[in-house]
C-alpha cells in the first residue's frame, strides 16, 4: 500500500516542479551503411534510421502516459558522419546532412545528432570534409546537430582543429545571420566527448557502442530547487552538509524516473538500454532553472562570488544521488549552465552578474562548458578559437568533458539580445574583455601535448 505522502509528493513534482524525462535518445550505428557511392550511402542511412526509429516517438509517448511522466524530447544520435562517410568530400557531406534531416522529420524527432568528427590527434580526409560542410549543413537543415571533439586528456589539444572550429563557428553564424547565428546553437566543440551523450548538441553514437541503444537524459532543476527551499523553510539552520543530502535524495528520485522510463522504452523497442545521463538540464521556463538553485542556496544570483562553490556542491550531490539510482550512468552527468536556455542564467548575464570569465571558472567544476553563450558579432575567429582553447584546457587537465557552444551574433554587440526560439531560448550578448589579443598564440598551431597523469596538483 502506498502512503499518501508518496503519492501526493510525486504529483507535486510532476504538476508544479517540472519533473520530466528531458530526452530519450536512440543511438543508431551507421557504420554498416558504408558505401563509396554517396547516393547509396544516403539511401542506406535513411532506411536504417527510419526502420529503427519508426516507433521511437510513439513508444516514448505510450510509456510516458503509463507512468504519467512526460518524455519531453525524443532524439536520435548516429555514428560520427566523418567516420561513416569517410570517403566523401564536403558537398556530399552537406547532402548527407539533408538526408539525416529528412529521416529525423519522418520519424518525428526534433533533433538528430552525430554530424560529428573526432580530431583530437589530427585530421583524416573525412574529418576535414565534414568540418568544412558544417556551416552549410547546419544552415540548410532544421534538426541536425554537429559536434567536433578537438581535445582529450589522452591526446592533448589539437590547436589546428581549434582554429578551424573558430572559423567554422564564424562561418555558421554568417550563413544564419538573419536568425542571430542560429546554426551555432547546434554546434558544440568538445574535449573528452563521451560516446553515449543523450543531450544535444553533443549527442552521437560512439564507435564502441552497440548497433542501436537507448540513452536517457533526466531533468529536474525545479524539483531540486523546491526541495532545497522547502527544507530551508522547515529548518532555517540547515547547513551545507545537510543540504547536500537533500540534493542527493532528490537526484535519486529524478534518476529513478529516467531509469524506469528508459528501460521500458528500450524493452518495448527491443533495443538494449545504455545509460542514464544524470544532468540537471534546464529549460527557458520559470521554475525549471539551474540558476534558481543558486538563489535557493543563498546567493543573490548565479555569477556572484560563491557560485563556483555552490555549483561544485550541486554537481557532486547530483552525481552521488543519481549514481545510486541507476544501473548504468554515463553521458555528461553534471549540471548544465546553458546561458540562453535557462531564464535565470540569461537574466544574470543581462544584469551583469555573469561574465565570460566566471562562466569559464564554473565549468571547471561541472559539465559541460561554455554553453549557449552569445558573443558580439564582430568577434574574430581567432578570439573564438582562443576561448575554445581555454575551455578545452580545463577539460583536458581535469579529465572531464568540456565543450564550447558559442554564438557570435551577426550585427549585434554586447548588451543586445539574441533570440534563438523554443528550447534554445534567448540571451543577452556577453561582453568580451580584451578582444582580438590572442591571435599570435592561436596561429602557433600544432598540438598541446597530453598532460601528465600523475603530479596532479
Amino acid at each position: 500500500m502506498l502512503t499518501d505522502r508518496e503519492v501526493l509528493s510525486t504529483l507535486q513534482m510532476l504538476r508544479s516542479e517540472h519533473l520530466d524525462v528531458r530526452t530519450v535518445t536512440l543511438g543508431v550505428s551507421l557504420l554498416d551503411c558504408a558505401s563509396h557511392d554517396p547516393d547509396r550511402f544516403r539511401k542506406n542511412i535513411h532506411r536504417k534510421i527510419c526502420t529503427l526509429g519508426r516507433d521511437l516517438v510513439r513508444t516514448c509517448d505510450e510509456v510516458g502516459d503509463k507512468y504519467g511522466i512526460p518524455v519531453v524530447n525524443k532524439r536520435i544520435a548516429v555514428s560520427p558522419i566523418a567516420v561513416a562517410g569517410a570517403p566523401f568530400s564536403s558537398d556530399p557531406m552537406v547532402r548527407i546532412a539533408g538526408t539525416l534531416d529528412e529521416a529525423a522529420r519522418e520519424v518525428g524527432v526534433d533533433f538528430i545528432g552525430g554530424f560529428s568528427a573526432l580530431v583530437e590527434k589530427g585530421f583524416a580526409p573525412g574529418d576535414r570534409a565534414l568540418i568544412e560542410a558544417i556551416p552549410e549543413a547546419l544552415a540548410e537543415t532544421e534538426r541536425i546537430c554537429a559536434s567536433v571533439n578537438v581535445a582529450s586528456t589522452a591526446a592533448g589539444i589539437n590547436m589546428d582543429g581549434v582554429l578551424l572550429m573558430g572559423r567554422t563557428v564564424k562561418e555558421a553564424a554568417r550563413l544564419t545571420a538573419s536568425a542571430d547565428g542560429l546554426a551555432c546553437a547546434k554546434l558544440g566543440v568538445f574535449a573528452n566527448i563521451p560516446q553515449d551523450v543523450p543531450f544535444m548538441a553533443g549527442a552521437y553514437l560512439g564507435v564502441g557502442e552497440p548497433d542501436a541503444v537507448i540513452n536517457v537524459g533526466v531533468s529536474g532543476p525545479g524539483v531540486v530547487k523546491n526541495a532545497i527551499e522547502r527544507s530551508r523553510q522547515a529548518d532555517p539552520a540547515l547547513d551545507l552538509g545537510r543540504l547536500s543530502e537533500i540534493i542527493k535524495r532528490t537526484a535519486f528520485k529524478v534518476t529513478r524516473v529516467g531509469e524506469l522510463i528508459g528501460t521500458e522504452v528500450a524493452a518495448n523497442l527491443n533495443v538494449p538500454f545504455g545509460v542514464v545521463d544524470l544532468s540537471l538540464a534546464p529549460t527557458p521556463n520559470v521554475g525549471d532553472s539551474v540558476g534558481e538553485i543558486f538563489q535557493s542556496m543563498g546567493l543573490e544570483s548565479i555569477g556572484v562570488p560563491g557560485s563556483t562553490a555552490v555549483l561544485a556542491l550541486l554537481n557532486d550531490a547530483v552525481k552521488k544521488g543519481g549514481a545510486f539510482a541507476s544501473s548504468h550512468v554515463g553521458g555528461l552527468s553534471g549540471a548544465f549552465i546553458p546561458v540562453s536556455e535557462d531564464l535565470n542564467i540569461s537574466e544574470a548575464a543581462r544584469k551583469g552578474y555573469l561574465s565570460l570569465e566566471k562562466l569559464e571558472a564554473m565549468t571547471s567544476v561541472c559539465s559541460v562548458g561554455l554553453d549557449m553563450v552569445a558573443l558580439p558579432g564582430d568577434v574574430s575567429a581567432e578570439t573564438i578559437a582562443a576561448i575554445v582553447a581555454d575551455e578545452m584546457a580545463i577539460g583536458v587537465i581535469n579529465r572531464k568533458t568540456t565543450a564550447a557552444r558559442l554564438i557570435p551574433v551577426p550585427g549585434k554587440k554586447a548588451g543586445d539580445k539574441a533570440f534563438f526560439g523554443g528550447l534554445l531560448g534567448e540571451a543577452t550578448i556577453i561582453a568580451l574583455r580584451s578582444p582580438e589579443s590572442s591571435s599570435g598564440f592561436i596561429h602557433l598551431g600544432g598540438r598541446i601535448p597530453a598532460p601528465a597523469q600523475s603530479l596532479i596538483n
Binding site: M1, L2, D4, E6, V7, L8, S9, T10, L11, M13, L14, R15, D65, K66, Y67, G68, I69, K253, R256, V257, E259, L260
Partner: protein
C-alpha cells in the same frame, strides 16, 4: 477446516481487538488475516479465521454478540466462500488514480462508476473531503487493478472526461513509478 470472515463496526475505543480475539480463541479459531482502520473516530475491522470442524457458527456468532454488544459494536460473521477474488489468475496491472478538486456531491460515485464500467477493481481507496476549495484538502487516492484486456487509452479518456465534468484534476499512473521514486 472451515474459514470465516467477520467484520466489526463501532465507535473506536481501547479493547475492541482484544474482545474479538479472545472470543475467537475460546472457540479454537486461528486468526489468519486482520485489517483495521479508523475514520473520524469510527472503527472498522475485518478478520479472517479458520474454525475447527463441527463448530456451530450460530454459537460463535452469539458469543461474539455477547462480548461486543455491551461495547456498542456491530459484528457480522459469515463463512468464507472459496471463490477466487476478482482478477486472480489474470495478469492485471496495478495503477494509481489520484483526484484533487473542490468537494461536491457525487465525486466518489462518479469516478467509481467509470472504474466499474471498465471492470477495473479497486484494491485500496483513501479519500478525504474537508470541504472548501483547497484542492489538496479534497483528494481521492485509488489503487486499482486494470485487467489486461482493458483498452488503456479508452479507460484513461473516460476517467479524464468524468473528472472534467466533476471539476477534478485527475491522474492515472502505473504504480511502479511511485515505488521507483520513493522506495529503494
Amino acid at each position: 477446516m472451515e474459514k470465516v470472515v467477520l467484520s466489526v463496526l463501532g465507535t473506536d475505543r481501547p479493547g475492541i481487538v482484544a474482545a474479538v480475539s479472545s472470543v475467537l480463541m475460546d472457540y479454537g479459531c486461528n486468526v489468519e488475516d486482520v485489517s483495521q482502520t479508523i475514520l473520524q473516530g469510527e472503527f472498522v475491522g475485518i478478520v479472517i479465521a479458520s474454525v475447527p470442524d463441527q463448530t456451530p457458527l450460530e454459537d460463535l456468532r452469539q458469543a461474539l454478540g455477547r462480548a461486543l454488544d455491551p461495547l456498542d459494536l456491530h459484528v457480522m460473521l459469515k463463512s468464507l466462500n472459496a471463490s477466487t477474488p476478482p482478477g486472480a489468475g489474470t495478469e492485471s496491472e496495478p495503477f494509481v488514480v489520484v483526484t484533487t478538486g473542490p468537494d461536491r456531491l457525487g465525486l466518489v460515485a462518479g469516478i467509481t462508476e467509470v472504474m466499474a464500467r471498465f471492470e477495473v477493481n479497486i484494491t485500496q481507496l483513501k479519500a478525504a473531503f474537508r470541504g472548501g476549495d483547497d484542492p489538496h484538502r479534497n483528494t481521492m487516492i485509488y489503487e486499482v487493478d486494470v485487467p489486461p484486456d482493458t483498452d488503456p487509452q479508452g479507460f484513461r479518456l473516460a476517467l479524464r472526461k468524468r473528472a472534467e465534468e466533476l471539476g477534478l484534476t485527475l491522474s492515472l499512473q502505473h504504480r511502479d513509478i511511485f515505488e521507483a521514486l520513493h522506495r529503494i
